[in-house]
Amino acid sequence: MRPTPTIIQLCKSTLAALFLFSALVDIGRAQVTFEQLCDSAKQPYNWMMYSGDYAGRRFSPLQQVNSSNAKSLVAKWVYQTAATGKFETTPLVVDGVLYATGQDDRAFALDARTGRPIWMYQRQLPGDIRPCCGRVNRGVAILGDKVFFGTLDAHVLALDTKTGNVIWDVSAADYSKGYSFTVAPLAVKDLVIIGVSGGEYGIRGFIDAYDANTGKRRWRFQTVPGPSVPGHQTWEGESWKTGGAPAWMTGVYDPATNQLFWPTGNPSPSNRGAGRAGDNLYSNTLLALNPDSGRLDWHFQFTKHDEHDWDATQVPILIDAGDKHLIAQANRNGFFYVLDRRSGKLLSATAYGKITWSESKDTEGRPVAKPEAAPTPKGHTVCPGALGATNWMSPSYDSKTGLFYVSARDQCDIFSTAPQPYQAGHAYYGSAYFPSDQAEPYVGAVRALDPATGQMKWEFRHPSPTWSGVLSTAGNLVFTGDAEGNFIALDAVSGEPLWHFQTGGAVYASPMAFAVDGKEYVAIAAGSSLYAFGLP
């Protein structure tokens, strides 16, 4: 897929302006407007939202660090949270100040040049919270002079960018019933948009929008429709009340059409379909919403009536190619989907990893599950496994190479049923899964996919599956991390490794890039520390 001239021109002009801008930047000003967020490419030195831009590309227009000098990258600073557990944050950087979150719901601001702390906020969490998958948080959103984050006890907070003081704090749901927030919110217009976690607890999922100034909730989109709402008929009996469909990864936004795209997760119980007959809308679905009202424009369900925990929460990416306005997602179920984002029509679905669950497609082109792929009492092997062909680690799209980069995992699981009654606030899987020996090779890889064909152009293999996302930059680079603790720079065209650094801890985060004083940095959370790299 070829880049459009406008994108090339835009990149050239912003790159030329980089050093001029950085000379003029008022360090620490830290005021962000919606217009700035829409035009984030004009401020390549700032990283102002989870995926770097509204299109979700996790692409940095910076090119000071590039494929010819990446081999000389060095660590510039390290910030240690001194906390245990997975450190999943993607920091934001605005005008020389870095904002990030860490384990146990802490949020902090650093001097982005030195890593020196400016402030830290530590949430006092109740003892009986229900984090399914670690006491994690993936980051903040920024708007005006506030940063926003969601907590494991299901509150949404606004903090002052200069002090970390709490400006407002609202409770979104009852954490004791399994509701929590781990996602980095998205700021759109004057709203803070956030999706809930808890698909392992039989919650009823939602996406909320809060007034950034006051914390007042403007709308809630229930991802499991209630009685008399379209989609409700896709649930058996009362199963909708505990239907799951969380929304725990950050969505994307198209300012041109004012469409908010937000992906959702698994139905509950996650691995047992008995008792919830039907498609189970809007689980595992890409939702196109009006951000002003929360009204549904269109929806596309990737995995109907899921029994393998294949949340469709992966960050989707907006791609413009000529007059085509696409949205692409490498889904946890092993298929790479490309849709027309104006209509929601599926254009292609191509396997990018090892899959055994589907051999046919429906009239829309959607892969259909084989009946024998369902979990059984004895257990049998299905690929991908429950952790998916990818998971929440971010993909990236570089319009210059025209490639979509994704951290893929080739692994299969043995799925067996383990019926459980629903109890509020308790794990609700209905099944169990284990790595299958038939899964060889059990590997991970960064794969570069061509959205026009779905075909893989190259892959860089890891010895074991990684939980690191991918960043691409205009320096012809792709950055990623691995489970063995390496942070790695690859050539964006060939996938050849150019540089690596052993951080000493497994990477459970997605990288980002920023610049201060005309110097480019690439940052990654690994182990319990945040690392920033640059040229000597």
């Binding site: 003892g127 308790h426 794990a427 299958s436 059990y442 063995e484 390496n486």
Partner: protein, 282 residues
């Protein structure tokens, strides 16, 4: 028994334990309210599959990280209360995490933990699957004709290429030990390579060829995309950067020979296993 009341008692006991560190004392004092319940065994089996089997294996027969729990001899969990405490709070310094409501995982409530305790007790195998061997003769074989000690160490004595076998007799059942001698590749690096497992490539066979054409064979101690740490068959440690090697091939075929009955009779194998189980006994 009223579970709510038992939970309250347990909380109180935990509090006291925290204050006095008198864990054995309180542990003896708390009883499993579900002991012997068939319903609890079934519920516990499902809970076990969901929460425990990833490490301890299907049917609790041991996995890549966790010991076989069907062994009736559990030095850390002689009583149900001790087992409850371990499941709830984990074992510091090991991969066993806290699984109670204050843990990092899904947070099992007391009733669910008691169900798992009841399930584990129901599948324990009290007696060895085979006749008891002669441990003294087994020791002679281990350090003599069977050549085990060329590669394996027990209590500080023996080789370094294979796993240390000082405690395996307590964490694996007899039939698993037999299989690992008769078919040593069967359980090698069984694919449980999530990053939380610190040394995922342990005991994989590796063959490297250096730039000058020298071939070195051994087992991996650790490996990533760019480097490998290995010990060769002469117990020499080698640390290589992969891009400086001509080739580096790993294999899941164990360096250990598969001992058939011509090489090692059933009786001799029983004797060696009796020795391994005796040295691991608490």
């Amino acid at each position: 028994m009223d579970l709510g009341r038992s939970r309250a008692l347990l909380k109180r006991a935990l509090l006291l334990a925290g204050l006095s560190l008198a864990i054995p004392g309180w542990a003896l004092a708390v009883r499993n309210p579900l002991v012997g319940s068939a319903k609890a065994v079934k519920a516990g089996e499902y809970e076990f599959r969901i929460n425990c089997a990833l490490c301890h294996g299907l049917g609790a027969r041991g996995g890549g990280r966790g010991p076989d729990l069907t062994n009736a001899k559990k030095p850390h969990a002689r009583t149900d209360a001790e087992m409850f405490q371990i499941i709830s709070n984990g074992i510091p310094g090991t991969a066993m995490p806290a699984n109670g409501t204050n843990g990092q995982g899904v947070g099992m409530i007391d009733e669910e933990i008691w169900e798992i305790v009841t399930y584990i007790r129901s599948i324990e195998v009290k007696a060895p699957a085979r006749g008891v061997g002669n441990a003294a003769h087994g020791k002679e074989l281990f350090y003599g004709d069977a050549n085990c000690s060329l590669c394996h160490m027990v209590n500080g004595k023996g080789g370094r290429i294979g796993p240390d076998l000082s405690s395996v007799g307590a964490s694996r059942r007899t039939d698993a030990l037999i299989e690992s001698v008769r078919k040593p590749s069967a359980r090698l690096a069984s694919g449980l390579t999530e990053p939380s497992k610190e040394f995922p490539q342990e005991y994989e066979t590796v063959t490297v060829v250096t730039q000058d054409g020298h071939q070195i064979k051994g087992v991996t101690l650790n490996e990533d995309s760019f480097s490998i740490q290995m010990v060769d068959t002469s117990e020499q440690l080698h640390l290589f950067e992969k891009d400086k090697l001509k080739s580096c091939e790993t294999s899941r075929k164990s360096l250990m020979p598969a001992y058939n009955r011509d090489m090692l009779s059933d009786q001799d194998l029983d004797d060696i296993i009796a020795y391994i189980e005796r040295v691991a006994a608490p």
